[in-house]
């Protein structure tokens, strides 16, 4: 049992725990925290996989911006304990079981599909052969320039849309 394994299992456990908490928690704010936990552990996993930049972005954007937004909204709307209504029987008796089934199914096939393929070398050492941010940016700003710009426009639209909606809300 080497350090990367230990790290991996800790983070994996944390992530799954967080996911479960997200589901079972009744307070939205608790769910938010659980999700943040998931994200942080995922960031560590990214580090394990040598994707430093992505890890940082994950924390900054997801944990630092998106989730703050969520928390902010929860606080703003003062969202209290969730009422477990069951107007939709089908969701209760079909959806949830099927969801779990999907979980097992995908997991099974993932396992079967990727057995054997292992991370190229030394996934443990975070700094060892980490993906250089330079290469990533080259890829991003040369080969994927158009998608990048398209995304930026998408974001702009999202900003405008959010503003409009918020205004209407008042």
């Amino acid at each position: 049992m080497s350090i990367p394994f230990i790290l991996f299992f800790i983070c994996a456990a944390a992530a799954v725990l967080g996911a479960v908490l997200l589901i079972v928690a009744r307070e939205p704010i608790h769910s938010a925290l659980a999700l943040i936990l998931v994200m942080m552990s995922l960031a560590v996993l990214y580090l394990l996989l040598g994707a430093e930049f992505i890890a940082a972005v994950q924390v900054i954007v997801y944990a630092g911006a998106v989730m703050v937004l969520f928390v902010f909204v929860i606080m703003l709307l003062n969202a209290g304990v969730e009422v477990r209504t069951n107007y939709s029987k089908i969701a209760k008796y079909v959806g949830v079981p099927l969801g779990f089934f999907l979980l097992l199914e995908v997991a099974y096939w993932m396992w079967g599909s990727a057995v054997g393929t292992t991370v190229a070398n030394g996934a443990g050492a975070v700094n060892a052969d980490a993906v250089s941010t330079v290469d990533l940016s080259n890829l991003l700003f040369r080969d994927y320039l158009f998608p990048f710009e398209a995304t930026s426009i998408l974001v702009l639209i999202a900003i405008v849309g959010a503003l409009v909606l918020a205004k209407k809300g008042e």
């Binding site: 937004l69 979980l103 909606l165």
Partner: protein, 102 residues
């Protein structure tokens, strides 16, 4: 140092995704449903990164980058909508927001 097989990461991402789906169906609060969606996105990202690492192809990371950006945009708009709904309907329970039907 020994190595963590990619399949571990993949299985983890699968599990997280499945949990996200379950939450997506199970939760009633609009905001938490959004969170479940975010969870699914994260799971997919993990799979992306794992594959990118396995095949030594950075494109996967680029996709993750895009996914994150889009998720951010989606959250912004989605939450704005949530606020509007909350203001108009005085509820956050999706099961109470059901006027659009047959």
């Amino acid at each position: 140092m020994s190595v963590v097989p990619v399949s571990y990461y993949l299985v983890l991402s699968a599990v997280l995704f499945g949990l996200g789906v379950v939450g997506f169906v199970f939760k009633r609060n609009i905001i938490t449903i959004y969170m479940a969606i975010e969870l699914m996105l994260n799971a997919v990202n993990l799979a992306f990164v794992a594959f990118a690492r396995a095949h030594g192809d950075l494109a996967g990371l680029v996709y993750v980058f895009f996914v994150i950006v889009v998720a951010a945009a989606e959250a912004a708009v989605g939450l704005a909508i949530v606020i509007t709904i909350a203001h108009n309907r005085r509820t956050l329970n999706v099961e109470d927001v059901n006027l659009l039907k047959f």
